[in-house]
């Protein structure tokens, strides 16, 4: 099972959401997609998309520099 990292640091709406979706489309079942970004609204929106897509949100972590990480299992 692959671990795919999507780096959208510095990107703004709607790019983090689009890149997450693209990575999830490409991923195989069981793969983990880890999205790393700085856009705060996207941090709330990506979990909504994950829910709509019926996928599993593993965790969300924040770093001190304002960077967030969201891990999703397909």
């Amino acid at each position: 099972m692959a671990h795919i990292v999507v780096d959208v640091k510095g990107e703004t709406c709607p790019i983090p959401l689009i890149e997450t979706r693209k990575a999830l489309r490409k991923a195989a079942e069981g793969d983990v997609v880890e999205v790393v970004g700085t856009h705060q609204a996207s941090k709330r929106e990506i979990p909504m998309a994950v829910k709509n897509l019926g996928l599993q949100l593993l965790d969300i972590t924040d770093a001190d520099d304002g960077t967030w990480r969201i891990r999703i299992r397909k």
Partner: protein, 139 residues
């Protein structure tokens, strides 16, 4: 069947094309289907080289306002309309061009970015799309 968003793009204004494409790509990213139906002034933006050409809907000020907004958008790292259109299509979004507008305004298929357009349709195409859509907007 997935939920669907259908958006009429009537305005050709720069900022409103942004709204349409951001909502369209957003819907696709959230797992919905999405169609953009370009008509009237919106259709002008499907002309070759036309996507970024629209005026601002407010404070255009002969282009000065648009220049300022574009500069601020660049600083904020906002994606170009061309990029959003490419993403919209890559994620499976559908683009419909209004045939009546083409006729009235004397626009031929060769004038348009045919590589972006999935269908040429009239009101029936929109109504059919909208009937099974959860979201429909007129921009």
């Amino acid at each position: 069947m997935a939920d669907k968003a259908t958006i009429i793009v009537h305005s050709g204004d720069y900022d409103k094309i942004y709204s349409a494409l951001i909502i369209g790509t957003g819907a696709l990213a959230m797992g919905m289907e999405a169609s953009l139906y370009f008509t009237f002034w919106g259709l002008q933006r499907l002309k070759k080289g036309g996507l970024e050409r629209g005026p601002l809907s407010k404070m255009h000020m002969l282009g000065l306002g648009k220049w300022m907004i574009r500069r601020r958008m660049q600083k904020a790292n906002v994606a170009k309309l061309e990029t959003l259109m490419r993403e919209f299509r890559d994620l499976g979004g559908k683009v419909i061009a209004c045939e009546m507008t083409m006729e009235i305004m004397g626009v031929s298929k060769e004038d348009l970015r045919e590589d972006w357009i999935d269908e040429y349709g009239a009101v029936g195409a929109y109504v059919q799309e909208a009937t099974d859509s959860k979201i429909t907007l007129f921009i």
